[in-house]
């Protein structure tokens, strides 16, 4: 079949050019195979990383039509058949070295910063650790990471704040925080609650959407937040903000927005923000605190809080318990489950939609 693609080429001088390539390829090719063909037959100067060709080494992360993919996981058949010419570019949030190769140093620096190895702080154990399957299941997803950088490429918070630890390092951190053999859980959480840690995540879910291995970094970050709060590490504004939602839900039912700024940021900051708040108040964005707006039957919500507090699922255990149902849904098991091979599943090549009939616009 004929396969065409456009590649953003760039050199050391920072000059960029979008070049189009078209060649014959077998129907089974992946994006990586096509790049190999381009390099072999058309232009030997094309630069990209690769190694295993089977989704385990994490080398060939790049962007197709603006979305990070593993080139070796992306089949070209549907794309070629639709006539679409995809644009291939290097990953985002990392400096470009040449063509599709990015400098991974900032990535590895953050990876190293979370101590990605077991820390046994106590006396040496006398025998091997014996751990139940259930305990390991809690960090199963986080253990799947192959360090490809697809999540980091797309992280919206890192675009705005490049120092943010980011989804890969935080997911890796959760892999050790949740490991019963690790002896430094509390110290790890303390370190992860810094300026550019857990609470800088903006919940855009790009990491979870793009991860080619199902690591679900956003979920891992939520687990770190929940575990921090359960262990009393709640000095960050983000943690205070999250805790205030709990107070609101069990006392008035609805979020008491008037109190959100003083509760999250403290009284001094709320005075500094007074002019901004006044502008919001003018437009009814700040409802008056009295009488408080209280949801009907809110006592049920308070009682539920008391009840579940006694049931031992504080911290990340509260998130892990829901993963089974979510995964069954995502993998197409059970009622209402989606088709894992249907629209929205991975790999997700672009297929040009059928042209829609002209819709009658409003008269």
């Amino acid at each position: 079949m004929k396969v065409a693609l456009k590649i953003w080429r760039s050199g050391a001088g920072g000059d960029r050019a979008l070049r189009e390539y078209e060649l014959d390829a077998p129907e089974w090719v992946t994006l990586l195979d096509v790049l190999d063909l381009v390099k072999d037959k058309v232009d030997g100067s094309l630069a990209y990383r690769k190694s295993c060709r089977m989704m385990i080494c994490g080398s060939c992360g790049m962007r197709m039509d603006g979305a990070a993919v593993l080139a070796c996981k992306t089949r070209m058949y549907d794309i070629a058949m639709s006539g679409h010419v995809p644009v291939i570019s290097p990953m985002g949030n990392l400096p470009v070295v040449k063509d599709l190769v990015v400098d991974m140093q900032p990535f590895w620096a953050k990876f190293r910063a979370v101590d990605p190895y077991l820390r046994d702080e106590g006396p040496a154990p006398e025998q091997e650790h014996r751990i139940s399957q259930e305990r390991m299941n809690a960090i199963h997803k986080e253990s799947l990471c192959i360090n490809c950088g697809c999540c980091v490429s797309e992280c919206n918070a890192m675009e705005s704040s490049p120092e943010f630890l980011g989804p890969q390092a935080l997911a890796k951190a959760m892999r050790f925080v949740g490991d019963p053999r690790d002896g430094a859980q509390h110290a790890r959480l303390e370190a992860l609650n810094g300026e550019h840690g857990v609470w800088e995540c903006t919940r855009c879910y790009f990491c979870t959407e793009r991860c080619p291995k199902g690591v679900d970094p956003r979920d891992a970050i939520a687990k770190l937040g929940a575990e921090s709060i359960a262990q009393g590490i709640d000095r960050d504004l983000g943690a205070k903000h999250a805790k205030w939602f709990v107070t609101s839900a069990r006392t008035t039912g609805w979020l008491r927005e008037t109190e959100l700024v003083p509760k999250t940021q403290g009284v001094v900051e709320s005075i500094r923000q007074a002019r901004f708040a006044l502008e919001l108040r003018k437009h009814g964005k700040v409802p008056p605190p009295f009488p408080p707006h209280v949801a009907k039957d809110v006592r049920q919500s308070e009682l539920l809080h008391e009840l579940v507090s006694l049931q031992g699922r504080a911290g990340y255990a509260g998130i892990v318990q829901g993963e089974r149902g979510l995964e069954r849904h995502a993998l197409g098991v059970g009622e209402g489950a989606r088709d894992p091979y249907g629209p929205g599943s991975f790999p997700r090549p672009f297929v040009a939609p059928d042209p829609e009939p002209e819709e009658g616009a409003a008269a």
Binding site: S160, E200, G225, L255, H283, L304, L307, A330, G336
Partner: protein
């Protein structure tokens, strides 16, 4: 008419009442009969999920249970964050009988009916961009938005994670564009329409959040948008109310009015000002809509 259990959420109940009034006024025109849920609370907005996740699950199960109790098959939301939180809890419960049993026992212990009959959680955007709602929308939007250039802003949590949301391709969504066109407006395209508005960290990390917020506002403005539309009241709060803070950072006064989805359709459907309530917006909306009056 389709009867749905209507879950307003915090914003439409308090600081974004204009979202509630315009949704209530629009509903009958697009074939929706709203049964408003009263004995419900905040969904936790992702924050309770990150603070006390077990409580998050129970709060959302309680909302689902009361929705199921109305007899409706659909729980209608008007907020991305509510949609994600409720759908996530729903999939967790529907696909894990053991978990659902435990949650139901807790619900019954505090006087909430157990969540037994399944409901589907759907956003207003989905109801009016396909099926019967879509057919009715095309008729209802008779006044049109001729000549109005509208920038669609999806917001994250109606697209991602797609395994929980799953309504449309998270990288190439088209529901907002189709609605804008059906209302007679012109959809403006720009790259940041799928990105984050910064709202979840706008208090804890304001600088990082504003660095995100500036992208859609600036790109939409540069692409010639008269107004922006979003299906999420949290994005709305960030895009509308925090827009003034961008001026200090960039020196540019964008003045881009941001409409809730129900307001945009509401304008095309001729809803009165008393239901649209544009006076509740921080960036004035009227000047942009003047364009429609002159061309009408």
């Amino acid at each position: 008419m389709k009867t749905v259990a209507y879950y307003k959420g915090c914003l439409a109940s308090l600081s974004a009442k204009e979202l509630d009034t315009s949704t209530q006024a629009l509903a009958p025109k697009v074939g929706l009969d709203l049964v408003e849920l009263e004995s419900v609370t905040c969904c936790g907005a992702g924050d309770i999920h990150e603070a006390e996740p077990d409580y998050y699950l129970h709060l959302n199960a309680r909302i689902l249970a009361w929705a199921s109790d109305t007899g409706a098959d659909t729980l209608l939301t008007v907020c991305n964050v509510c949609t994600l939180n409720l759908r996530q809890a729903n999939w967790q419960l529907l696909n894990d009988a053991e978990l659902r049993d435990r949650v139901n026992r807790n619900l019954e212990a505090v006087g909430v009916p157990p969540y037994e009959r399944d409901v589907d959680v759907r956003h207003l955007l989905w109801e009016v961009s396909e099926g019967d709602g879509w057919e009715r929308l095309k008729v209802a939007a008779h006044k049109g938005l001729k000549g109005l250039r509208v920038a669609p802003f999806y917001g994250c949590q109606i697209l991602r994670p797609s395994k929980v949301l799953g309504f449309e391709d998270p990288d190439r969504p088209s529901s907002l564009e189709r609605i804008i066109q059906a209302c007679g407006g012109e959809a403006v395209d720009y790259p940041a329409k799928l990105k984050c508005c910064g709202f979840p960290i706008i208090q804890a990390r304001e600088e990082t959040a504003l660095g995100e917020l500036v992208q859609p506002i600036e790109q939409a403005k540069d692409a010639g948008a008269d107004v922006m539309v979003t299906p999420c009241p949290l994005c709305h709060l960030s895009l509308d109310a925090w827009q003034s803070k961008l001026k200090a950072a960039t020196g540019r006064d964008y003045g881009l009015p941001v409409l809730h989805l129900s307001q945009l359709i509401g304008v095309a459907a001729g809803l009165p000002d008393s239901e649209l309530q544009f006076r509740r917006h921080v960036v004035p909306v009227e000047p942009a809509l003047e364009k429609l009056r002159f061309e009408a």
